[in-house]
Symmetry: C3
Subunit: 132 residues, 3 copies
Amino acid sequence: MATFKFSGPAKRLRIFVGEGHKYKNMPLYHALVLKAKELDMAGATVTKGIEGFGGHSRIVTSRIVDISSDLPVVVEIVDSVEYIEKYLQEIDGMIKEGLITLDDVEIIKYSSLEGERLKRIKKENQSEPDKK
Amino acid sequence: MATFKFSGPAKRLRIFVGEGHKYKNMPLYHALVLKAKELDMAGATVTKGIEGFGGHSRIVTSRIVDISSDLPVVVEIVDSVEYIEKYLQEIDGMIKEGLITLDDVEIIKYSSLEGERLKRIKKENQSEPDKK
Amino acid sequence: MATFKFSGPAKRLRIFVGEGHKYKNMPLYHALVLKAKELDMAGATVTKGIEGFGGHSRIVTSRIVDISSDLPVVVEIVDSVEYIEKYLQEIDGMIKEGLITLDDVEIIKYSSLEGERLKRIKKENQSEPDKK
């Protein structure tokens, strides 16, 4: 199985919400992943924290069972500027309490796919120099 | 319940320590969260690793029970430059072994609060253009 | 026990692969940590996600037992540019499906060691201003 490799600039998005936050009867973090999939984003990774505080002022921790129901989760997505901006517009109404961070990264992507998604990213990266 | 949204520049702080590190008879990572709360920081998120190595040279992993007692934990805090700098001064004596990374991010914050904390961040972001 | 502190610029590497990915009969993420150790990198931290999608298009989640076998894992390494570049060359053949992000950070390192590793990093940071 051949592996394709390419690299270039990208945007990183990290979304901090509570594990217990809901959107239309499902966990909000799951709805955020589904939306990324629906928009054909390159990927998404959800990580769960063991302690934290945020919009709410209470500290929640997995060490104390009673108040561990709203532990922080982080949804991380790395994609092109265009896809990240479109995604941000789509999720704007979904989050009531939360923090999003955005920053620039360089990426190296290894993939065995030569499907539409890979072609898209390749094409974008190839045309990237023209935009600057 | 109304949701307020605002955006602007911020600093991201990630602190890597061992899960078993102590500060005054409590887990160090918890002491770092308490300090962030005490200083009225906007939030903190603690994530636990499943494997790693650092100041110590031994690799610890959750796959081997015997040496999993000092797995890495990461405390992530995103706030204004002023609050991050004050926080760094306060925790300077708390960490004996560990790594801190600092970098710039753009944030989008969703909140149902219009309390003092939100006013503080709004005010700072509004005055941000003046500083440049 | 004395604590040494130093700060300076560094590179952050985050490698996203599947928990179930293998390299020579061991988990790929573990092989990536071993390689970092072998090259005397300053540290590595592995975090496991609870949900995600990536090179593959299927969403995997820890909430559904059947398809949780390939949850995302992230290997994070922070070190000098030279060490990160050498590491990237070494792991180039190990990853078939995955994403690597690279970006610049400022670090503050606390250590009780005054071993070879600490001397290396101190020396690099001291010589850093000369390069600019």
